[in-house]
Symmetry: C2
Subunit: 141 residues, 2 copies
């Protein structure tokens, strides 16, 4: 079983987001175990991240991917890091400065999304990445 942690700041604000996020979490259940940690502040986030290795953080200046490239990237990360990956999504003000040195930075788009919608986009891309690895119809349809 692959393991993935997602750290961010602030609870899920919207009911619809919780539903949508939960839907992808459920679809991934048999393959990827996802734990989410919603910190109350940058300081708490930094404290939690301290113990993590293989951290991937979302940043506007990070590397961009196609979904196929992201799938290969995730596969490599899981291999290099003993089937564990940690994602960090910053709060409304972006990533805590100390984190940028510690993490591998990636970007989902040149556009700015709310950090709430970013959670949905990220989990859908993780699901898509796993489906691409499996060679299913999901990414082709």
């Amino acid at each position: 079983m692959l393991k993935l942690k997602i750290f961010s700041i602030g609870k899920m604000k919207e009911k619809w987001l919780e539903q949508a996020f939960g839907e992808y979490q459920k679809r991934l259940m048999n393959r990827v175990h996802i734990d989410c940690f919603w910190a109350k502040s940058d300081a708490q986030l930094m404290e939690w991240i301290e113990k993590e290795s293989g951290v991937i953080a979302l940043d506007p200046l990070g590397r961009q991917f196609t979904s196929e490239e992201f799938s290969v990237f995730l596969e490599n990360c899981w291999e290099e890091n003993g089937a564990r990956i940690t994602f960090v999504i910053g709060g409304p003000e972006g990533l805590p400065p100390g984190l940028k040195q510690k993490a591998c930075l990636i970007s989902l788009s040149s556009l700015t999304f709310t950090h709430q919608i970013t959670r949905l986009i990220l989990i859908e891309q993780i699901y898509r990445a796993v489906e691409i690895q499996k060679g299913s119809q999901y990414h082709k349809a």
Copy 2:
């Protein structure tokens, strides 16, 4: 009042998407009137689009923007086209081939999103673009 039409294929599949999309539509209400048209097929979409001018279509090979650039782009489109813009999101198989010649092609990301989630990302970016034009806190926070 600015006018905007969004054409795509297939109804809103998910309840959460309808809620999320509706939330941004409501927030935009005083500034941008949005009409949505969900076609049953490529053929119906093409028939509907036939009468439209100033069509912007989402395509993986389209021009990419930052949110600030997208805001300027939208403002210019509205000015050039008498306060009217038409967006087209293709179905699971992308845009009908005939449309690519007729439309201005833009891309939200190098990643592939579901055409359903694309609707949410698009309307949030339109809301963000309008807030950037107004100089509100939304894009800064």
